[in-house]
């Protein structure tokens, strides 16, 4: 966001995380990483904040406070889901008293008629402080995204040829007739 290019104040919101990410967020402000040099400041009050560093899988107990804290941040706001718990619920994504990260939280927000803010994801368990810094910079449009979705689908023709070869092998070993209906479903013709 252009408004936040030079300065971004963040509020750290823990919705029931294990502390790992929370410590790493603090670590990002420690001398080695020093996020302050990039105009990042950790503030104590959500009213002062521009962005929320959101950690934790959102426990049921913390839900009301979390919703309030998010509402208290003035617009325009950014949410950074930091860590595996916030991004996807982490190791407890399907537990009975966890909403399953920011996705579950937004489901609740939507059901209450609140539009979720713009969200960025910073995976890691916990993410390195540098990864958090990279996430913050990405949200401000200062670096390019490195992580991209990758998809691979096996080539149909090759796979089918291999399957046919294997089926041939089958007929080499077994003198069993292929049930005609199964053969028809797959290839239209029986081969032997």
């Amino acid at each position: 966001m252009k408004l936040y290019r030079r300065s971004l104040w963040v509020f750290h919101l823990n919705s029931g995380s294990c502390n790992g990410c929370d410590i790493e967020i603090l670590n990002a402000l420690a001398p080695r990483q020093d996020a302050e040099r990039l105009g990042v400041k950790l503030v104590g009050s959500p009213r002062h904040a521009d962005a929320i560093l959101f950690t934790g899988p959102v426990t049921r107990e913390a839900l009301p406070s979390v919703v309030r804290a998010i509402q208290a941040v003035p617009e325009p706001k950014i949410v950074l889901a930091v860590g595996a718990c916030a991004c996807g619920g982490g190791i407890w994504h399907d537990s009975y008293c966890v909403l399953g990260g920011i996705q579950g939280l937004y489901r609740v927000l939507k059901s209450m008629g609140i539009t979720p803010p713009k969200t960025f994801f910073v995976p890691g368990c916990p993410p390195k402080p540098e990864a958090i810094i990279q996430g913050i910079l990405l949200a401000r449009g200062l670096v390019r995204q490195k992580q991209v979705r990758s998809e691979y689908y096996e080539e149909q023709a090759l796979a089918e040829k291999a399957e046919v070869d294997l089926h041939r092998l089958f007929h080499k070993y077994f003198w069993v007739r292929v049930p005609p209906e199964a053969a028809r479903v797959k290839y239209g013709v029986a081969y032997y």
Partner: protein
């Protein structure tokens, strides 16, 4: 007269029920009617043991009953006493031991929440952990409750959000005190927990505590979804600061239960990683303490020094925080500490020690630090005994306790552990204890590295027998960390109950807060090094009887 050995102990215990000795565990079942309180009194107050925790187990699929196990530690006899109380599934009620041992209060209420066993004559039979909108008669740790059942959140939350925020956060003033909420989101805590302090002007009159914001259902997931060797990873994520000690305690519990002998090399590596974790945790705590005392330069210095420890951990384990080294029976192959790494550790620690000693003794002799920590937040030795606090917190109050020395595990069997003890019981003493522990830990790692033997890294763990009991104890940076397991079938646990040290330590916070300055509250709370995500079982501490007021879920955040 105290019995002199295990045999005499057994004989004496026959008065109360049927004692059975299985290795280190002494089960007392079939308690004679009306003798429970006498038994607990005998174990906790007369034998010099102490109450550790209570575990509720739904054993209906096994023998048709619910069970409650009260665990007592008798260090002198080298046994854990498990008082076994079965409860009829149709009408699950057992007698409460809270009137005799107040420390059992939370554990019993936790069982009420999770298993649905009622405790007769419990002084405060209220809900503890589960959220307020959780339906009655749904008990998540019963075996018939699916772990991934998501009950719909009630409209209470929607209502809370809809309310005008400005109505909710104006302090609830009583006649003479103002209530100051600390949390759930407070910069001093970094975790969502909720203290309520009652103040007169700037003096704290009383404190109350409401927690369990971090309850994530770890036990249930481990019992239903994960297998033995997956649980160490969830155990590690109980806490992001002292995770490795949790996974070690878990592995030790299963190893105990299945009688697996861990190879020595794995024990050494575990100890080394545990000590690295302790150093990083203490550095972290010290930084936070200086920050809370307003000395930001101190915070920056501590966290800068800590960075080399984190780098070391990253080089050894591949991650700064989650070491991921433990499996049941030892250490994973890639986590071996080879020759060149030994040199690396020795080198790094030497440098850290040198630099650390350049800074910290100077910092803790600064006037502001001394003025704000000496004689502040005092916990006397007797109070410490009463709340049975653990770890550095206890050692700062003059109690010489350390699992590493008195019930040695891992490689602490082979080396001598130095344990600093202070008598003042104030925050300054706690700083000094941790300061000395850092040095002791660094020296200990050097000694461990010198003797690291060449053996295998993990034992063969093909078969883990069913329905065995195990307890694993480690000395976490914050105190004794106890894990209880019952093994099950299908490569899964039947029951797992971790108990973190903060569970005990937090009880002492209101005592320390009373009569202190409001400005000192954050550092007092922080001085026990609270780890709420570890504990996730905490209660509203209601010390002023007859003054129960409804707790505001919104807390500070509503107003902000």
């Amino acid at each position: 007269m105290r019995p002199r050995n295990k045999c005499e102990l057994m004989t004496n215990l026959r008065r109360f029920g049927e004692p059975r000795l299985r290795g280190k565990y002494l089960f007392i079942s079939r308690i004679k009617s009306g003798r429970l309180k006498d038994l607990v009194d005998y174990l906790h107050w007369r034998l010099g043991g102490y109450y550790s925790t209570s575990i509720g187990v739904d054993e209906r699929p096994l023998d048709g009953y619910f069970h409650v196990y009260h665990v007592f530690v008798l260090e002198k006899y080298g046994v854990y006493v498990l008082v076994d109380l079965p409860a009829n599934p149709g009408h699950p009620v057992v007698e409460s031991i809270t009137p005799i041992v107040p420390a059992a209060n939370w554990a019993e209420r936790e069982i009420m929440d999770f298993i649905g066993i009622k405790f007769r004559a419990h002084p405060e039979p209220h809900r503890l952990i589960l959220p307020d909108d959780w339906p009655d008669n749904v008990y998540p740790l019963r075996k018939d409750f699916p772990y991934d059942e998501k009950l719909p959140t009630s409209d209470k939350i929607a209502k809370l959000v809809r309310e005008s925020p400005s109505d909710t956060w104006i302090a609830e003033d009583s006649e003479d005190h103002t209530a100051i909420p600390v949390g759930p989101y407070h910069p001093a805590l970094h975790e969502p927990e909720y203290f309520e302090l009652f103040v007169e002007g700037e003096k704290i009159v009383d404190a109350r505590y409401k927690g369990f914001m971090v309850h994530r259902g770890i036990e249930k997931i481990a019992e239903s979804r994960l297998t033995y060797n997956q649980v160490p990873f969830i155990a590690e994520r109980i806490c992001g600061i002292c995770g490795f000690t949790h996974s070690t305690a878990y592995c030790q519990a299963v190893e105990e239960a299945a009688r697996i002998d861990v190879p020595e090399r794995a024990e050494y590596i575990r100890s080394i990683l545990l000590e690295i974790e302790r150093i990083h945790s203490h550095f972290l705590w010290m930084g936070v303490a200086f920050h809370l005392l307003g000395y930001d330069t101190g915070f920056m210095i501590m966290w800068r020094l800590r960075e080399s420890i984190m780098d070391l951990a990253e080089k050894l384990t591949g991650s700064r925080k989650m070491y991921g080294a433990n499996i049941v029976g030892g250490i994973r192959d890639k986590w071996d500490i080879k020759e060149e790494k030994v040199a690396l550790i020795n080198d790094t620690l030497g440098k850290i020690r040198e630099e650390y000693l350049k800074y910290v003794p100077k910092i803790i002799s600064m006037e502001e630090i001394k003025k704000r920590t000496r004689g502040v937040g005092i916990l006397s030795r007797s109070d410490a005994r009463k709340y049975s606090v653990l770890g550095p917190h206890a050692r700062a109050s003059g109690i010489n306790t350390d699992v590493r020395r008195y019930r040695p595990y891992a490689a602490y069997k082979y080396v001598d552990v130095e344990i600093p003890v202070e008598d003042d019981g104030d925050i300054y003493a706690r700083i000094i204890i941790r300061h000395e522990e850092i040095i002791a830990s660094i020296d200990l790692i050097h000694r461990l590295l010198d003797n690291i033997p060449r053996t295998h890294l993990h034992a063969d763990t093909d078969y883990i027998p069913e329905r065995r009991y195990g307890i694993g104890c480690t000395e976490a940076p914050r105190g004794e960390d106890l894990h209880f397991v019952i093994t099950g079938k299908d490569n899964k646990l039947y029951r797992w109950r971790p108990r973190a040290p903060t569970y005990n330590n937090l009880l002492s916070v209101p005592t320390m807060l009373r009569g202190e300055h409001l400005a000192d509250a954050p550092i007092i709370i922080a001085s026990i090094d609270p780890c709420f995500s570890c504990t996730d079982h905490i209660v509203v501490v209601d010390l002023r009887s007859g003054r129960r007021r409804p707790l505001r879920t919104g807390g500070l955040v509503g107003g902000r």
